[in-house]
Structures are given as structure tokens and as C-alpha cells.
Symmetry: C2
Subunit: 238 residues, 2 copies
DNA sequence: ATAAGCAATATTGTATACAGTATCCACAAT
DNA sequence: ATTGTGGATACTGTATACAATATTGCTTAT
């Protein structure tokens, strides 16, 4: 065991899951690639028990698929999966925003969100789209952590891990994404600050929907039209 | 190993997770109870490896809590948790109904749902509330399986395992629940059959909301008022 | 008598050994 | 030549052994 610098705060399996997750998102492990246990064990200097625990955690996040006797593979990035993911994220992210807007201390939350929004604007000004992307990721995590609903937080965190892979592919090629994000997030924070729960939910739903359409266009270079109107569930509400 | 009658179709861990889940829902293992590994291993005649896999699956379903070095415990049933669960189930169950209503073969799905609805009516007629409860559970599972969104199906299955524990407590004491369920489900199936996605979503949201209020009243015998308006997210939509 | 500290025990986290099955390649038969 | 079958190999699923830590009870000191 070489990585005994951190002990007992979190299990090795949980730590390993995060490290593997980062590798999968950055496509160090390619989509569809088979993850052989002993190989990864020797690479990370651990045993198979915590690795299998990590695999199970990643399965819950939708990053790998484990089939009995057939081993563990990195899940493929497909348009269908992106669509399914988005159909779930829209109502849940909207619910998260609504809960934030209904908090008594929403002003404090809004101020925290403003900090990350400022980071996004800063990143846009200097043209560092990766920094803007990361600020956006931090803002999302912040929202989930402040929604005061542990079940919702768990679900959204799970979904975001998978959604992140698509966003990672999109962020570099689409220079206009950051502008849309800044604009939409500013609008969202304003509704949260004002305590208008339903409006915050609607704005958030539109935001996720717009990001989805952009990712989808980039993912499908032949500009296939968006057929299914995923947004109906919450966009029309309130 | 005594349970080798089923082999390689599913792992022992997955099978065990379902068995433990049933035990937890039926409160064979009481809420808050500590689940010691060796004790359960000897009881089920298996080893610790698949048991730990089962524990992790159950953790994902929110039925147990695992803390490093402190072991695994059955999660407590609390009003807060029920509220959080419901806040997530309302938008997701509504989305599920909307997807069903948008399916091309919605008529076939509606017919399948009708069968379970008939079983609920039958159970009500003979006064067998447990049978009605189980038909309701089957109908819910059927809806999730037919929504044509694997991500949504996974999320809803997870949430329903936890929600089932509260419903199990409620079903016997509340004789009126079944009537409400039959009425609401009939309305829901009608909207699905008609292909009205938004209306189906709204009806479903109301249905989950009503079941929640009933469970909450039973769970809190001192008739504490429902403060938070959880239903706003989708109920007002369309 | 009560509280604090230490030791013994029990339980979890990790590593490794063993068993069973899927995959792959070679050889043979049509 | 191609396809099917058989065996060898490699990998996963499971069991158990070992290590580390939390808990509990007892002893001692204030």
C-alpha cells in the first residue's frame, strides 16, 4: 500500500472512485474500454477489494457498466444517453433552484453563487474557457450542496458525473457556450435572490435545455434536428 | 454455499440485496439497527464479499447507511427524509407519466396498467388492503419499466425502495388510501391513453402529493400541519 | 463514588488465495 | 476454405486470512 497518506477519513474505495472518475471524464480510459481489475490494481498500488467497491460506486454514477462474468467497461457516450440524462436533469435541477429560492437565507446563497459567476465572467474576459467551465462546475456543485435536500443532492451529484463527460467534450469546441451560461446563470441567481421559486425553476430548466441542445449539436456533427421536446415538463410551469 | 440453485444470472450480492431489502421494508431489521457482517453472513450462509456488495447496493437505494469503521446501519424513518424523498419523486414520477403518454404504443401500456388497476379494485372489493398495496407496487414498477428512459428508471427504482418503507407502514392503518389510489390512478391512465403528456404529469404529481400527505399524517400522529408546498414544481405546470 | 485511562475484544477494511466461467486460438472435419 | 469443437488461458466471483480501529468493560486514582 503506497497511498497511506490519507487514512480512515474516507475508504480507499471511495477515493479510488473519484480518481477513476476523473480519468474517465478526461477520457484517459476511453468509452467502451474494458477495465481489467488486476491491471488497474497494480497501476494504483491497491488490492481488488477496494477496486471492486470503486467500480460499484462508478456504476451508480453511470460511468461504468458491470455485467456478471463479463467484467467492467466504461460506458459509451451516446446521444440517447445524453437525452435520457437531460430528461432527468431538467426537472431535478429545476427543483433544486426552486428549493434554493424558498430558503430563508437565499441572499447568502445568492452571494456565494455570484462569486462563481464572477469567476466565469473573468474567465470569459481572458478567453480561458477551461477556467470558465470549471467555475460553472463549481457553481453547480454549490447549488446542489445548498438545496437542503440530501436525497436530491445525491441524485443530482450522480447525474452530473455522467453529464460532465458530455460537457467536457463540448466545452472546447463551442466558444459561445460560456456566454449563454453566464447570461442564464445570472438570470437564475436573480430569481433565487428574489425568492421566486417557480420562476427560478423555469429559468433553470431553460438553461439546462439550452446547454443540452448545444452539446447535442456538437455531439452529432451532422446537425440532426432535436425531435423530442424534453423541456415540456417544467418549462411550461408556473 | 447453499443457495447455488440460481447461478451466474445475477450475482449473489444482487440477490442478497433484494432479500435484505425485503427484510428492511418489512422491518425484520428495525430502523437504526446495526447490521453486523458476520452475523448476517452466517444467517444467509454466504461470505462477507457478496454481503458487502449487497450493503453498497442498499446504500445506493437509501436503505442503509455505511460509515467507515463504524459499520452499516438501517436508515431511520424520519419525516424529513419522507419529505425529501417526495420532493424528488414528484417531478420524476410526473416525468415518467409524461414519457408514457408520449409513447407511440401508449394504448398497449395503458392496457397493461389497467390490469393492475383492476387488481386494485378487486382487492378493495374483498377488503384485502395488502393485495391492493401490492398491486399498486406492481403498477408503479410497470410504469417505470415502460418509460423508455433507463436513467429515469434507475432513479425511480432507487427512490421507490425507500418510499416503500413509509408506504408499508401506512397501508394497514389508512383504509381510505386505496380508494384515493384507485381514483387517481384511473385518472392518470386516462391521460396517458389520451396522449396528453402534460396533463398526465400533473395528475401524477397530484397523486404522489396526496399519498405523501396521507403517509405524513399517519407518520406524525399529532397531526402536524404540512408546511412546505412540495407540489409547486410540477403541479402548477402545463 | 465517579471519572479517566488502559487493555481486551469485537468488528470492519484490506489483501490474497481459490473456484468457476467466458474468451480465444488451434486443430480437425466437412 | 470455412466452420465447429475442444482445450488452454485469463479474468471475474467468492471465500478466507490478516491488519487496523472502534467499543466496551475493568481497574485505579482522585
Amino acid at each position: 500500500m503506497e497511498l497511506d497518506q490519507e487514512l480512515s477519513l474516507r475508504s480507499i474505495g471511495a477515493e479510488l472512485a473519484d480518481r477513476l472518475e476523473a480519468a474517465i471524464v478526461r477520457e484517459v480510459f476511453a468509452p467502451g474500454e474494458k477495465l481489467r481489475e488486476v491491471e488497474i490494481c497494480s497501476r494504483f498500488g491497491i488490492s481488488r477489494s477496494p477496486l471492486r467497491e470503486a467500480f460499484q460506486i462508478l456504476e451508480g454514477r453511470g460511468l461504468v457498466e458491470r455485467r456478471p462474468r463479463l467484467g467492467t467497461r466504461v460506458t459509451e457516450l451516446t446521444v440517447d444517453n445524453l437525452d435520457e440524462l437531460t430528461a432527468c436533469r431538467i426537472p431535478l435541477e429545476a427543483t433544486c433552484s426552486r428549493l434554493l429560492a424558498e430558503r430563508a437565507d437565499r441572499e447568502a446563497v445568492a452571494r456565494e453563487l455570484d462569486l462563481e459567476l464572477a469567476a466565469m465572467r473573468e474567465a470569459k474576459a481572458v478567453g480561458d474557457f477551461l477556467a470558465g467551465f470549471e467555475a460553472n462546475v463549481r457553481m453547480t456543485a454549490l447549488m446542489h450542496g445548498r438545496c437542503a435536500n440530501s436525497v436530491l443532492m445525491r441524485l443530482l451529484d450522480q447525474l452530473d458525473k455522467a453529464a460532465l463527460r458530455y460537457r467536457f467534450r463540448a466545452y472546447r469546441s463551442a466558444t459561445g457556450i460560456l456566454d449563454h451560461m453566464i447570461e442564464g446563470n445570472a438570470e437564475m441567481i436573480a430569481e433565487i435572490r428574489a425568492g421566486r421559486g417557480c420562476e427560478a425553476a423555469a429559468v433553470t430548466a431553460r438553461l439546462v435545455d439550452r446547454a443540452w441542445r448545444t452539446s447535442r449539436r456538437l455531439f452529432l456533427p451532422d446537425a440532426q434536428a432535436v425531435s423530442r421536446p424534453l423541456k415540456n415538463s417544467v418549462l411550461a410551469g408556473c
